[in-house]
Amino acid sequence: MADEALFLLLHNEMVSGVYKSAEQGEVENGRCITKLENMGFRVGQGLIERFTKDTARFKDELDIMKFICKDFWTTVFKKQIDNLRTNHQGIYVLQDNKFRLLTQMSAGKQYLEHASKRFHDSDLITSWYLFMYINFK
């Protein structure tokens, strides 16, 4: 679908734009990553407010995790999380085997570093929001 390509292109430009506009020597330290993470976090907050508006109240952490893995991931990435693991002590590992924002990148070691930059922005949308929810107690 055409709109997905538009978003991917925009996302690419955002990531490279943030890195280009960084001052000298900042590429190595975490400032760019933090900026991207915060952007993703803010977008995630708005998305979450809209999506949870009509869902039932979350009873416990498992409810929250199920919502993120199924409803949220489907709405944003059009597929569900492939694997969810937990150690029952507050750590959850979500595994997505075909992450939508990275599928267009070629599968070789050449772009590994760039892939991780794109990953930082999008993944943090959900994982930080998860963190926020879990701390609601």
Partner: protein
């Protein structure tokens, strides 16, 4: 119809609070503050039988002699508290629910505004207008 509307953040500080009769505002602020305890009680696991656990609307929190206080908690732990006049007996539960729905919709719009930082006071004019429309039918 509503005499006072308040939006309370997750950390229990007010994001937006407005009362219709502009004198004696402190009394309403205090009522909203005390109602937070009741809200916490209702959403904790203890009160399992009292409130339908799957609903966001909490219902009547507590009645005082002049006013009734209603509550609503979103899934992101933002609380909406509404104080209505007890003498206005025409207000049914469904109307209160629909008022909270409108509040939630407007709050979602405020959240999606990229110029709004979550945690700041809500200063959106659209939100103000929506709240005014809920409070204006008093006369």
């Amino acid at each position: 119809m509503a005499v006072c509307v308040a939006v309370i953040a997750k950390e229990n500080y007010p994001l937006y609070i407005r009362s219709a009769p502009t004198e004696n505002e402190l009394k309403f602020h205090y009522m909203v503050h005390t109602s937070l305890d009741v809200v916490d009680e209702k959403i904790s696991a203890m009160g399992k039988a009292l409130v339908d656990q799957r609903e966001l609307y909490l219902g009547l929190l507590y009645p005082t002699e002049d006013y009734k206080v209603y509550g609503y908690v979103t899934n992101s732990k933002v609380k909406f508290v509404m104080v209505v006049d007890s003498s206005n007996t025409a207000l049914r539960d469904n109307e209160i629910r629909s008022m909270f729905r409108k509040l939630h919709n407007s709050y979602t719009d405020v959240m999606c505004n990229p110029f709004y930082n979550p945690g700041d006071r809500i200063q959106s004019r659209a939100f103000d207008n929506m709240v005014t429309s809920m409070m204006i039918q008093v006369c």
